[in-house]
Symmetry: C2
Subunit: 210 residues, 2 copies
């Protein structure tokens, strides 16, 4: 099997949110798609290890926010490489309750969904949600996963459906939090002390040489 | 609910194929996504009205071919706007048996899958397939659904998950087969008699004025 074939499937980049006893929680998801148009339903795949998976199961509700190409990359770091179990991802994230769900402000559009079915797999749950409400917040082009990798040089969390173990690049500095690989013009050692990871905001001290 | 929000979900464009008692069948699908990485699984959503849905259910096998930006648009017309029940879509389509499944030659890469679960919805079946084999055939950029609509001016079949009834454009000539809306420089009436629909290959006589 040629595993590079998987790189040719096209996705968007989304933040899936829910409630944990009144507290907003969420994580980055890239596997979401419309399944039916009448009634409108959306399926989203969440890893069993995502705390948001548990909250969607418990509440039977989730929201999907579509990230735009101009999204603050730190938002992806915050929602993609930390756990809502022990992190308040919304503390520094502007959001509002939309369609009764917590929805981040920094998105192209959002869908508020009620779980009507689910399918379990070895590592992920596929939730099928009926869309109860939806709106567009701005005109920014929806970010594709290809754009995230090519333009933002983003990496994939180990619990994402699309994760494949990557070769370590010898001699490169890599963020321990989000796996971002520094490839700027300035040698890493010469970056100012207050420089932070462009994806997750981690300080320079969180980078290690591979 | 603002239904235009749905236009911001990102998809690729795929041809899903299967066997009908030894005869190759297939249809266009845009709702496909990887669900797990180990074992690798892919979910695809097919309308109950698609003959390919019945064949995937009967055989428990399907293949997904990822279409590239340079795909012959007539292939989308053939596989997206006709039924395998009464049409031999492969008669004029170069293909080969790959991973024991019929796979069109005109694709970026393909996946041969065994159905391991499925979820029924009001109008579609979501098949979960374990990927048994996969390969890349060429380097063409995978076509996104946005590219199909913007660059190829493609339309959506009425039984697709992403279909939403579109406003009819007054005075425009529209293909009765695939709903392609002619918007070329040359007035439609002045096009040569042997001109054919760039999407599905239908003759000029199959166009009607809206």
């Amino acid at each position: 099997m040629n595993k590079t074939a998987f790189y040719n499937l096209s996705y968007g980049v989304y933040v899936c949110t829910s409630w944990d006893e009144g507290r907003p929680v969420g994580c980055v998801a890239n596997s979401a798609m419309q399944i039916t148009s009448s009634p409108a339903t959306i399926a989203v795949s969440l890893n069993h290890g995502n705390y948001t998976n548990k909250c969607v199961s418990d509440t039977g509700r989730f929201a999907i926010a579509v990230l735009g190409e101009n999204v603050d990359p730190k938002l992806i770091g915050r929602f993609g490489f930390a756990s809502s179990k022990d992190t308040d991802k919304f503390a520094e994230t502007p959001y509002a309750v939309r369609g009764k769900m917590p929805v981040i402000d920094d998105c192209v559009c959002w869908f508020s969904c009620k779980v009507i079915d689910k399918m379990e797999t070895a590592t992920h749950t596929v939730f099928l949600g009926e869309v109860l409400d939806a709106d567009v917040l701005r005109k920014d082009a929806p970010m594709t996963y290809a754009y995230y990798h090519k333009v933002l040089k983003g990496k994939t969390a180990a619990n994402a459906p699309t994760y494949q173990a990557e070769e370590k690049s010898a001699g490169k500095y890599v963020c321990k939090i989000c796996k971002y690989e520094y490839d700027g013009e300035t040698p890493f050692e010469e970056l100012p002390d207050d420089w932070t990871c462009p994806i997750c905001g981690a300080p320079k001290s969180q980078f290690e040489k591979k």
